[in-house]
Subunit: 335 residues, 2 copies
C-alpha cells in the first residue's frame, strides 16, 4: 500500500512541518526535497496518505500536517536517530562533571535535558533498589512521633515520620542498633528479604514498634522506584503561546501532579530503551496533545524524559534523551 515514494513523502512532510511549523503543500515539497516527480503526483500520493490516516488537512486548501499515526510511522520506520554533535557530547560532560550528591545529579540532569532539547524535562529519582543500605536512623521527635531515615550508598536520604505508640527511647535505640546490624551493606533486594524475618528476632514487647518501622522501610526500599520526580524547563512551553489556552494550561496542570508524572514515566519504559509516546497514545488525557520521549537510566527502574509538542524533532530528541540517560547511568554506577 505504501510504496517507497509515499514513505519518502511522509518523511518529508514530517521533517518539513517540524522545522517550518506550517502545513506543507505539494509544491513546496518537490522544491525542497528533490522528489523528481511533479506536484500533481505528490498530491495523488498525499491523497492516499490522508486516506490511510497518516496526514491531514487543517482546512480545505491548506497544506498537510502529520497525524499522530503519521508521526508514529515516522518514528518507527523513517527517522534514523541522529548521533549527537561533538559539542553536545561535550556539553553533557561538562554540565554533569562535579556533581556532588544525588540531589545535585538529578537537578543537573533536569537542567541539562531541558536546555538541550528546549523542552520540558522530567527526571525521576533513581530507585533505591540498585544501591545498598548505608544506615538506618530512628529519631524521636515527640514522645509519640519519630522519624525513620534511610541512607543509601549513593548518598540519597529518605525519611518518613511514624507513630511510635509511646515506645521508650531505649527500645528505639535498641531497634535502631539491630536494624543497622542486620541491614547495612545489603542491597535493597537483600535488605527486603532480611526484613521479612526480622520481626521474629524481636522481644514481644518491641514488636509493635518494630512492625511500624519495618513497614516504612519496606515501603522505602521496595515500593515504587522512587516517589519523587523533578521537572524543569517549564518556560520552554512559552514557545507554544499560540495554542496556549487550549493546550498549555492542562499540560502545566499535569506537570504539577507528581503522581501523574510518575505513572507516565513508569508506563513509558518497558523496552529498556528510549520510548516514544505520541499524542493520543498517551493514557493521560490532558497530555494528549503532547509527546513524551522517555528512557530508563542507571539500569534501574528510574526514568527520565522530555515532554514536548507532538510536532517535535523526534530523531534529535530521542538521541539526546538516550545519550543523557546513558551518561547519567554511567555516572551513577561509577559513583
Amino acid at each position: 500500500m505504501l510504496d517507497d515514494r509515499k514513505l519518502a513523502i511522509l518523511r518529508a512532510i514530517v521533517t518539513d512541518y517540524v522545522s517550518m511549523r506550517e502545513p506543507v503543500g505539494s509544491k513546496a515539497l518537490v522544491e525542497r526535497y528533490r522528489l523528481n516527480v511533479s506536484p500533481a503526483t505528490v498530491r495523488n500520493d498525499m491523497a492516499v496518505l490522508e486516506e490511510e490516516g497518516y496526514i491531514t488537512q487543517p482546512h480545505t486548501s491548506a497544506g498537510r500536517i502529520p497525524t499522530d499515526k503519521g508521526y508514529r510511522l515516522f518514528v518507527d520506520r523513517l527517522g534514523a536517530i541522529k548521533p549527537l554533535s561533538a559539542a553536545e557530547r561535550r556539553a553533557i560532560e561538562t554540565f554533569m562533571a562535579g556533581a556532588l550528591d544525588i540531589d545535585d545529579v538529578v537537578k543537573r540532569t533536569v537542567r541539562l535535558l531541558a536546555q538541550i532539547t528546549q523542552q520540558v524535562a522530567i527526571v525521576q529519582y533513581p530507585a533505591m533498589a540498585q544501591a545498598s543500605v548505608r544506615a538506618v536512623e530512628i529519631i524521636s521527635l515527640t514522645p509519640e512521633r519519630a522519624l525513620v531515615i534511610l541512607v543509601n550508598s549513593t548518598g540519597h536520604v529518605e525519611q518518613r515520620s511514624i507513630e511510635t505508640g509511646g515506645a521508650p527511647d531505649s527500645a528505639i535505640a535498641e531497634l535502631r542498633g539491630r536494624l543497622n546490624a542486620a541491614l547495612v551493606g545489603l542491597s535493597a533486594a537483600k535488605a527486603l528479604e532480611t526484613l521479612g524475618g526480622f520481626l521474629e528476632q524481636l522481644r514481644p514487647e518491641d514488636r509493635s514498634l518494630g512492625t511500624v518501622v519495618c513497614a516504612v522501610l519496606v515501603e522505602i526500599l521496595g515500593g515504587e522506584p522512587s516517589t519523587r520526580v523533578v521537572v524543569g524547563g517549564v518556560p520552554n512551553l512559552t514557545r507554544f503561546a499560540d495554542q496556549f489556552e487550549t493546550t498549555v494550561k492542562p499540560v502545566l496542570e499535569a506537570l504539577e501532579e507528581q503522581v501523574v508524572l510518575l505513572r507516565l514515566l513508569g508506563e513509558a519504559s518497558s523496552s529498556g530503551d528510549v520510548t516514544v509516546r505520541i499524542g493520543r497514545e498517551n493514557p493521560y488525557e490532558p497530555l494528549q496533545s503532547t509527546s513524551l520521549v522517555a528512557s530508563p537510566y542507571g539500569d534501574s527502574w528510574a526514568n527520565l524524559g522530555v515532554v514536548g509538542p507532538t510536532r517535535m524533532d523526534y530523531p534529535t530528541t530521542m538521541a539526546t534523551v538516550r545519550a543523557v540517560a546513558r551518561y547519567v547511568g554511567r555516572y551513577l554506577s561509577e559513583g
Copy 2:
C-alpha cells in the same frame, strides 16, 4: 492635594479595574460607585490623579488604569484588609489538618495558597533557627565522602555531603558522638554558640574533619533561613495568556530560579507582617510586571507568599496570605 473624593475615586478605579479587567471611565465610575457627582467632575479629578502619577491612560480616549504608584497608595491607605469568609477559614483548617511531617506541611501550604488566591504560591522551608537540634549523623559513603545529616524537632531533615579527607570510621563515630552530646536539645542559636568553641575540645588529629563538619553544621543552622523553596499554582499564570509573550515567560523563568525566589522572599519580609511589593518596586527585573504579597510565618525568618499580576485583588490576597501564614505558624509551633 488629594482630597477625600479623589481618594475615593482612586479606590474605585483600582477595585473596578481589578474586577472588570478593563480601563475604567468616568461614566462607569459614577454609575457603579454612587459618587454623587457628575462624570465631568470625576474627569477633572482624574486629570489631577493622572498628573500626580497615580493613574494613566493606555491610549487617548480610553479609561484610566492605576499605575504602580496608584496601587501602592491603595494598599497603604485605601484597601482595608478583608476578613476571610468562614468558608475560607474552614478550607484552610481542613486542608492542613492531618499533615504528617514538615515536607507535607510545606506541600499542603503551597497548594492551599495557590488554590485560594488563584495565583502562584511560594513557600520557603521553615528555618532551622526556631527548632531545636534533634540529632546529628555522619554517615560515610565512600572512604572519601560522607553525609552530614541534621534533624530538628519539627522533623525537618537537612543533609550535606562533605569530603572526609580519608578520616577513619572510628574518628567519625567519635565526632558524631561528641556532636550529639554537645548539641542535641539546643536551639539553633545556642547550638551555633556551642559550635564556636567546639573545635578546641577535639584532639588535634580530629580537627581537620571537625572543621569541615562544623562548617556544614553552621551553614545549616545559621545561614539563610532555608535554601529550599517550593512553588505551586503555576498553571494559574495561564489566566494572563493575553500578555503572554511579554510577561509570562520571564516570570516562568524566574520561578525556576530558586536563588531568585529566595532573595525575593528574603527581602520582602522586614516588617514581620504581610509585605507587598508592586511592579517596579520589585528589585528583580523580570518580575517587575508582577506583584508579590509575602509574609513571614512560624515566627522565624521563613516566608511564604504569592506572585500575581500587579492588577490583583490586594485586600483579599493580603488577608489570605496573612491567614495562611498565621495558621501554618501555629500549626508548626504546636507540632
